[in-house]
Symmetry: C2
Subunit: 247 residues, 2 copies
């Protein structure tokens, strides 16, 4: 499926018949010929169409079910999975968490998560300044006030901090931004637990949030992006001072 | 799990016991107390720890397995899933494809995919100019030459075009960028099939690719980002002229 992926240059075994059936089904889904919710033909029918045995088909279906691509219920055949927003976020989260323990080439380091974070959050702040509705602004103000009230409770402040940033993503009204930000959330929460324990940082973070919120409410995309950028630069500096790896 | 998610304001039923077990297990994974590959205690043990019946535990495990969070094999108990890069991409793709047919609030429109694309690809071009290795540049040059040779074969050009852009993401050596770009790939391929059929566009795209490649090879992050930005602006303009929705 990822023939152009030169990033994982481990030598591949040549594809088995069942791999080729797996790839064909993925291709049909990717090209929208098969859509989420569609029911696949029976194993026997699929075998006839692909010109392979039922055993080969069964193996392919099992591997697609393990990837979460198909829902296979006994008796009712295989259905192309509907992946909701939570399931998609969860898969990305598990990938990020698993990768942080992985082998060298695959491992996702904090600096890489920070790169993704800066990309996402600066763009999200800019778009939120165009797309936010009054209810989004109310909810951001509420989170901001609660974080102010949380004061020295690092655990509560950290959660409210994550929630504030997530609220900005929600205010874009583009669920893709929310899923992407959610996928790195556990890693970001860990970073915050460290940085918000650093003297002076909670107050600086609160002032920065106030500034971001003010620019979003003023419908100022460039200002919101700039305010977010400054805030994240400060966060990265604190985190490096506390012993984060320097890229 | 998404208490702060104000985007889907459907009234929620109050969580059942099994929902609460599900959330607790997710929390343990998110906080890294349970890591990918870890085996969970038996249903009986979990029941005792959570103070609930085995039936409640079984329901929770089933729902976590359906979300792809646990691998449940009969006889050997439940294991926290290892999610590889392909599985994570696939889940995001299925979400994007499913969402494009969803109800109003959840639907992901082309303009939203384009917003994500612009964010990803401009940043990726910038980082690739810092991180690309010689083999990455060779592979990009090869894809560029093959796209030049493909000329008026729109299907082949479109695939090589997608592969060229993906190659830039690979050259960042940050797998998160690759996963995120892969998740919108099927939608982008559809856009390209349209735009590359438009007179003049294939040549303009090739010239833009040459420019991007040149800036990456020159280790010029700002130049690479700017060249990518111009290229995507042209693509969006062509696509809108061909009848894409205007945001």
């Amino acid at each position: 499926m990822n023939a152009e992926n030169v990033q994982y240059p481990t030598l591949q075994r040549s594809p088995t018949l069942s791999d080729r059936v797996t790839d064909s089904v993925l291709q049909l889904i990717t090209s929208n010929a098969l859509k989420p919710g569609d029911r696949l033909p029976s194993e026997r029918d699929l075998g006839v169409r692909f010109g392979v045995s039922r055993t080969v088909v069964r193996e392919a279906l099992r591997s697609l079910a393990a990837k979460g691509v198909l829902d296979v219920r006994s008796g009712s055949g295989a259905i192309v999975a509907r992946v909701d927003v939570d399931t998609a976020s969860q898969a990305l989260r598990l990938f990020v968490q698993g990768s942080r323990e992985g082998a060298d080439g695959d491992r996702v380091e904090y600096e890489q998560i920070n790169d993704v974070r800066e990309m996402l959050e600066t763009r999200v702040a800019r778009i939120a300044a165009r797309a936010a509705q009054d209810t989004d602004l109310d909810s951001l103000r509420d989170l901001h006030d609660r974080m102010k009230a949380a004061k020295t409770d690092v655990e509560l402040s950290s959660s409210l901090d994550v929630a504030f940033h997530r609220g900005i993503a929600v205010a874009t009204h583009n669920p893709l931004f929310v899923v992407m930000l959610d996928s790195i959330e556990p890693a970001l929460l860990e970073i915050r637990r460290k940085t918000l324990g650093s003297p002076g940082r909670p107050n600086r973070a609160l002032r920065a949030h106030a500034q971001i919120l003010e620019r979003i409410a003023a419908r100022d995309p460039e200002g919101a992006e700039q305010a977010m950028n400054d805030h994240l630069a400060d966060s990265r500096a604190v985190w490096r001072r506390l012993g984060g790896t320097v890229s």
